[in-house]
């Protein structure tokens, strides 16, 4: 064991268990993960260190509905650096009621492969 600090210590965000993962490189330079309680932890930690991805949720004003706002999210996580560019795209939205839960408001936003969907029904 080397006594230098590991590459990263992080908490897995895939579920509320929140495993504490230690990420380091071994002698061969391969990334090693410890502390995961399920097999999703390893690819998560590797990705989290090399290229973190996040989901994004916000809400946008609705025209003509019973509610002022409709909440939205992405269908899958995107590279973290895409959050603010995507927020700027979402900010241009002014969807009109009625809106169905799961309705796609922007398909494949900025080419990320994620859709922006409504997360509630507005009548």
């Amino acid at each position: 064991m080397s006594d230098r600090a590991p590459l990263d210590r992080l908490t897995c965000v895939l579920c509320p268990v929140g495993c504490e993962l230690t990420v380091d490189t071994d002698a061969a330079g391969e990334i090693q993960v410890q502390g995961n309680q399920c097999d999703k932890g390893v690819p998560f930690a590797v990705e989290e260190v090399l290229h973190p991805r996040r989901n994004l949720a916000t809400s946008v004003p609705v025209r003509g509905g019973a509610a002022i706002m409709v909440s939205v999210r992405l269908t899958c996580p995107v590279p973290r650096e895409m959050l603010f560019p995507i927020l700027a795209e979402i900010a241009k939205l002014r969807p009109e009621a009625p809106i169905g839960r799961g309705q796609v408001l922007i398909a494949d936003v900025l080419g990320t492969g994620a859709d922006v969907i409504a997360t509630r029904t507005i009548r």
Partner: protein
């Protein structure tokens, strides 16, 4: 003038994640006439303003947002012949299970065979913390800020300081950042974060928002609007240390300093409350000290995951249905008390001879490589033990006892 009097088998007070599940649980356990009362115009409770992702992993086996979780659960309720009253406020509840309701159609009384309390919780306020200073605009609890931003499209300020590291505060740090506000820091009086670790990472670290532990706000300044706050380090007894103060310019202060079960109705019905949880003392059927009145979700004890509030709701609803059908629980006589490092364990009382009971518990401080032990107080017999690599006060945990319980128990944490 005659007052309308109705009857029902099970009345559920509150239509959030716990109450919706309780109504469903009651129906599935055979209750004929189920009434669900919600004071807001829409079902779902606080879930409607929790637009972020991370709900439903346990109930729906996928991660969805709060509004989606609420709608899916509410759709299940609406499919059942459950009488849903939204925009209706329960004004009073008596020990003999008479509800006084201010409903949309007017005032009415409901006699219920059984009642499920699912009123959720409130946020602690500046007044409860007694933060000195002026009384300007710009001070919000994190949840009310969440409501204003997510549901009402209001901009609440430009530069914010957040006091307390509860989950809603952490989530609002990210939310305000998305809205273009500068979040200057999250100040937590304790030496550890109160919210879930994944929120510290996703909501603060991702955006370079500092988390200052062992610090608090000691003064609020500003005449009409917040102009700055004074923060200071605290000592071991959480008292501010003179000479460590610094001024942070901001126009907004968010408070995320704890939640309190909203038990005004429970008190009216004479329900015994626990000083450790702020909620009712319950037995293994989630029945309170008032026969036929059950409790679940955040009004019983504060949950960090909505799914667990719903699971508790399903169980409380089922128990209420059985009570309404004439089944009587054995009557709790065994007491369960928290031991070393454990803040509380729930249920607090159990019917002698009951088996397969699962306790929810919380620890008082972060712990590593510990064992939770459920032990007989008289005999010292070990009823259950479970190892944990790590326990945090922010995380509600569970431990199950398979054997029949026949003596007072202690739930303790051995290091």
């Amino acid at each position: 003038m005659s007052i309308q009097v109705e009857t029902c088998d099970v009345a559920v007070i509150g239509g959030g994640p716990a109450g919706l599940a309780a109504a469903l649980g009651a129906r599935r356990a055979g209750a004929g006439k189920v009434l669900l009362v919600e004071r807001e115009r829409t079902l779902g409770g606080i879930l409607n303003q929790c637009v972020h992702d991370g709900f439903g992993l346990f109930l729906y086996k996928e991660t969805i947002s709060g509004p989606e979780y609420a709608e899916r659960l509410a759709e299940d309720v609406v499919r059942e012949p459950i009488h849903v009253e939204t925009g209706a406020m329960v004004l009073d509840l008596s020990a003999d299970r008479i509800l006084r309701i201010n409903a949309r159609a007017g005032y009415k009384l409901v006699e219920a065979g059984a009642v499920v309390l699912a009123m959720g919780c409130r946020e602690r306020t500046r007044e409860m913390l007694e933060i000195p200073g002026t009384r300007p605009a710009g001070i919000f609890t994190a949840g009310s800020a969440q409501n204003l931003v997510n549901l009402q499209n209001l901009k609440i300020g430009r530069e914010a300081v957040i006091l307390g590291s509860g989950d809603i505060g952490l989530i609002m740090a990210r939310r305000l950042t998305f809205e273009g506000m500068a979040v200057k820091g999250v100040f937590e009086i304790l030496p550890w974060a109160s919210g879930l670790e994944r929120n510290v990472r996703q909501c603060l670290m991702d955006f370079g928002i500092p988390l200052e532990l062992g610090m608090t706000v000691v003064e609020i300044r500003g005449r009409d609007r917040v102009e700055s706050v004074v923060v200071a380090k605290v000592d071991d007894r959480l008292a501010p240390v003179a000479g460590t103060e610094s001024v942070i310019v901001c126009d907004t202060l968010l408070l995320s300093v704890g939640l309190i079960p909203e038990n005004e109705l429970a008190k009216r019905a004479g329900v015994e409350l626990s000083p450790l949880t702020g909620g009712a003392v319950v037995d293994e059927t989630l029945m309170t000290s008032a026969p036929g009145i059950f409790s679940c979700g955040n009004v019983l004890h504060i949950h960090d995951v909505a799914d667990w509030a719903s699971f508790e709701g399903f169980a409380a609803g089922a128990s209420a249905a059985r009570y309404a059908a004439g089944e009587r629980p054995g009557g709790g006589a065994v007491r369960i008390t928290p031991g070393a490092n454990v803040k509380y364990a729930l249920p607090q009382i159990v019917t002698p001879g009951a088996s397969g009971i699962e306790w929810s518990f919380r620890v008082v401080r972060p712990l590593r490589n510990v064992q939770i032990v459920v032990k007989g107080k008289a005999t010292g017999r070990i009823f259950a033990r479970k190892k944990f690599a790590r326990l945090l006060p922010s995380e509600l945990q569970k431990i199950k006892v398979r054997a029949a319980v026949d003596e007072d128990l202690e739930v303790a944490c051995r290091e």
